[in-house]
Symmetry: C2
Subunit: 610 residues, 2 copies
């Protein structure tokens, strides 16, 4: 059996798996799996080189399934490659299975969660940049839908890839003509996509996405022009099953039992081919030596300094001891002060221009390849990338974000430039650490802490210079707080962070003149909040608390403290407290603690005085 | 004096104003004003037709300054046109002035706040669509920076404009080569921009942006190809002041006193020309007759129905009585059920494809022209447009958003498709109404309420069908709540919304069997929350509250209730409670209630027992 025949057979196996899996699950997107079955077969069993024993092998080619709703065929390909047992496929979308409705890194070959469309290309660009930096021979393949090419983030990524001259990335657009609710804007006008990608500096190839030989020919040309390559593959949604082929209304719809039988009859019996034999291993290469030290030389500040400037110095010093640190900035490096790092480490610095979504997506890709990306912009503009940040959290991604110019304290530029919702959009992100320093020393310590912490972290920096409160030696653990003023006669506790700490200290002095004493807490770790200590201090100061913050009313430190205090007024809060997984609605309501059973339990706990 | 000479003189006046204003303010972006001075003169005093007495005149051409940091020259143009007094210019960025650092609709000629780059084109596309729908002869001009063309949202908008065949929109890109921190990606490679816009279906013109005659020639060609037009204007940042011309490092920097004097000497004396004479009035046209009725025929539901489906029916019925209602959907209309409206009112329906940022930006533009846009997507994907939603709020925009498929209750599709942070990202938005219906009748009532409410509203709908709880006649005011179960022996209050109301009702039944009685509240108005009633019910049920919601821990209903309860544990929360304006940092800290003085006041209130 020659390779072409084998690939055709493998494609048929992938089709059959996709149909069966989604039928069994009772939900999912078989038609979009069928359109990319031949592409998937050619990728996994011919073009991509990867070590099926090690998803972290530095020589691996990487794949990002940007059209995440085609997850079943991805799982099927991994099964055919021998990476997961074939029998697991029939557990698709079960609550016990890692084979979710859309890919997440719970399945260890997945480097970034997808399912929010238009994000995969940025992740791929980040991976390709990291692989170039770390001298991996591997390439990155990003499989995209045609519909998602309407997302602006795709064009931010396309821009970046050509600007960075990444010849190690190949996007494959599965042009199957149909979106979820309608035909796509360009339908089968492949020339329209070609014009766009060419205008954005890509080498464009067009193929019939169901002709294995044509696909392999196209693959040979990847990167040959020294530019990123896109393969526009004309395909048929539902290919292989005549009654769903190229028909609207079959986007997220599994086959019913009788439909499945008819479909399987059309596709034919499961071909006999050992796909795993066709997996191509890469040559072994050494991983780049990343020195992951975190303790860096602190700046001996002598006078008031903006926390954003201290962030810049800290990044630079961190960069000297840790070569896994890379920095991205959205054309505001002279405001966020990442320029301090850019000047020292140009090869690890990425000017991301005014394209925050791609910046964050690239960071996810770099983190997936073992780097520690710090990304900075005005806090207000990070809201542009909230969907990417959300998906980064769902990817358990080790990214670090810094938002500068927060609150009204920036002054005259006006509300569009003031970060006033940033705490609110980061606090709900599961597992996200949210830090808000008041002085330069604290900022440097928090930069070290966030670099060392595995997971997504957000640092909120202030535009104006603020006085020095602490010393070079002081420790600021994540989840901590600092009591700045305390006495036996305190009548209230004032809780601030960042700029308002200084307002609180001024208030302290004013009150003292009238013999009124208050406690002051610097709640620099907004999340996790130092609840226990804060509550104790409040209780110890006649139970009065004042939260003061430079942020809109809802979702910030006020809510955080209120939520912490609420326990004292007998609230119990039932809600989703971890990243949920695929499963049936009732199972999920129950597993994550918001079903009737849990409510009954909570009431009983109350009555038992708990 | 011929028109060309006059325009050159006006341009010089605009330059002088820009230099003086930013010098006086001590901050701002003069160099980017200078690069667009000739374009601004040609626009305001030749090409655009507008009635300087009425910013709402239906025949007006509209201008969106997407590069919002060039606000000073916009204010200068309005002053030269006689719309605002010339002397007001010197109040730029003062806290008392409407002439802010970046444009906001506090100045009544501004239809949408700008300053978060890359958003203006979408707003323009929305305006142009509305003007086409309402048969305005006016056109829309969007002045963009070259740097902001890196934003993906620009390409989403470019796509939409050509797809919608809008020949009444003209984008002008001020290609001044320099971004904030670095030269732009393409610098003076105008052909690169031309390729991109052409690929996205636009007619592309290139001009020297400092040659008045060339600019006027280009203007004559606008819309002539039946497509949207972009004018790529090659300009010099800082044009007219040799020592800042085309130099990096002068992005957001006003001149110092001596620099100003040198600059004014170079530019020459203030030319004598009465610019207002050159304003061109449009022909009078009738405004479209928009019938703004809100009371629509309710569906007599008989069995359990998904709130998302009820939303679709309500939109359709609302559309029958109110022709100001337009609907946009991001290729999920068969899931959000906006298709119910699309089927009835194709001319008022806008398939926005998978481009949520542009969808929201277009909605802002349509609202600015008097329409009532409803926009829908999965709640999870509205996070993609958070920056646009934020700017819509800063624009006091009358937009209505619906996010479907919230929480784990969507089932198997997995976390990327679950709206789990949506309440958290909408709650901080100032003035945003957040509604979360549990049954179909309530959904319809809330759609009516949000249509009637002036301002930004968010409706959270659920995927699975939920039982009917209410009747066709029941009233659900914004800011209300419903007590569903109540008795004299209640030992706790359970507060839910949407899907969890039903879980609470199940719990009620379980508890009743054991003779335990609880109160149940449907908190359908998450924001504003019905605080008073909710607190009273909690107090009346032995002070115990359980909040249960299908949303991540932070930022949702739990925080909202905790914040409401916190008053009972003697919290005072000082924070920004309204949209702040430009001003000096200390002024702003004080004006918005977070300075030392306010903290002192709060402590004293506590001590006085308030």
């Amino acid at each position: 059996m020659n390779r072409l025949e084998a690939l055709e057979k493998i494609a048929k196996r992938l089709r059959i798996h996709s149909l069966m899996m989604t039928w069994k699950a009772g939900s999912g997107h078989p038609s979009t799996c069928l359109s990319m079955a031949d592409l998937a077969a050619c990728l996994f069993f011919h073009e991509m080189k990867f070590n099926p024993k090690d998803p972290e092998d530095w020589a691996n080619d990487e794949l990002v399934l940007s059209k995440g709703h085609a997850a079943p065929i991805l799982w099927a390909a991994y099964a055919e490659a021998g990476i997961i047992p074939l029998k697991d496929l029939m557990d698709l979308r079960k609550i016990s299975s890692e084979l979710e409705g859309h890919p997440t890194p719970r399945m260890k070959w997945i480097k970034a969660a997808t399912g929010s469309l238009g994000q995969g290309l940025s992740v791929g660009v980040g991976m390709a940049s990291a692989m170039k930096l770390g001298k991996s021979p591997g390439r990155v393949f990003v499989v995209m839908g045609d519909g998602e090419c309407a997302e602006g983030a795709v064009w931010e990524a396309a821009n970046a890839a050509s600007f960075l001259k990444l010849k190690n990335i190949c996007a494959i657009v599965d042009v199957n003509r149909l979106g979820q609710s309608d035909p796509t804007m360009h339908q089968y006008d492949l020339a329209a996509y070609a014009r766009k990608f060419r205008a954005f500096g890509w080498d464009v190839l067009q193929v019939n996405g169901h002709k294995v030989d044509a696909i392999l020919e196209a693959f040979k040309k990847i990167g040959k022009k020294g530019r990123p390559t896109v393969i526009l593959a004309k395909t048929i949604k539902g290919k292989g099953v005549s009654f769903i082929e190229n028909k609207n209304g079959w986007h997220g719809k599994p086959l019913k039992e009788d439909e499945l039988q008819a479909a399987l009859k059309e596709v034919g019996p499961m071909p006999d081919v050992d796909a795993a034999k066709y997996v191509r291993l890469p040559k072994r290469v050494a991983k780049p030596k990343l020195i992951r030290a975190f303790s860096f030389e602190r700046t001996p500040y002598k006078e008031k300094t903006a926390t954003r400037l201290a962030f810049g110095y800290a990044l630079r010093e961190l960069g000297k001891v840790n070569n896994a640190v890379v920095v991205l900035d959205g054309d505001v490096k002279n405001s966020t002060y990442t320029e301090k790092f850019f000047e020292y480490f140009p090869e690890r610095s990425f000017q991301s221009y005014i394209a925050e979504q791609n910046m964050v997506g690239m960071g996810m890709g770099m983190a997936a390849k073992g780097y520690i990306p710090f990304m900075a912009s005005f806090a207000a503009f990070l809201s542009r990338a909230h969907d990417q940040i959300r998906m980064a959290a769902y990817s358990f991604s080790n990214i670090k974000l810094c938002g500068s110019h927060v609150g009204v304290s920036i002054g005259e530029d006006g509300p569009s430039q003031m970060g006033l919702e940033d705490l609110a959009i980061f606090r709900p992100i599961p597992g996200c650490v949210v830090l808000y320093p008041s002085d330069a020393f604290q900022t440097e310590a928090l930069v070290e802490a966030m670099a060392q912490h595995q997971g997504i972290c957000y640092l909120r920096t202030t535009r104006p210079a603020t006085p020095l409160l602490y010393s070079k030696e002081e420790q600021f653990p994540i989840g901590g707080s600092k009591v700045l003023r305390k006495g036996p006669n305190d009548v209230a506790t004032i809780i601030g962070a960042g700029i308002t700490v200084f307002e609180a200290l001024k208030a302290y002095e004013e009150l003292k003149k009238e013999n009124i004493e208050v406690r002051i807490i610097d709640a620099y770790s907004v999340q996790p909040l130092d609840k226990e200590n804060i509550l104790r201090e409040i209780a110890d100061s006649q139970g009065r608390a004042i939260v003061v913050e430079d942020h809109f009313e809802n979702g910030g430190l006020g809510d955080a403290v209120a939520a912490a205090l609420a326990g004292k007024t007998a609230i119990k809060h039932l809600c989703i407290r971890e990243l949920p997984r695929s499963g049936k609605p009732d199972e999920l309501l129950d597993q994550y603690g918001i079903s009737a059973r849990h409510i009954v339990g909570a009431v009983k706990e109350f009555l038992a005085g708990q």
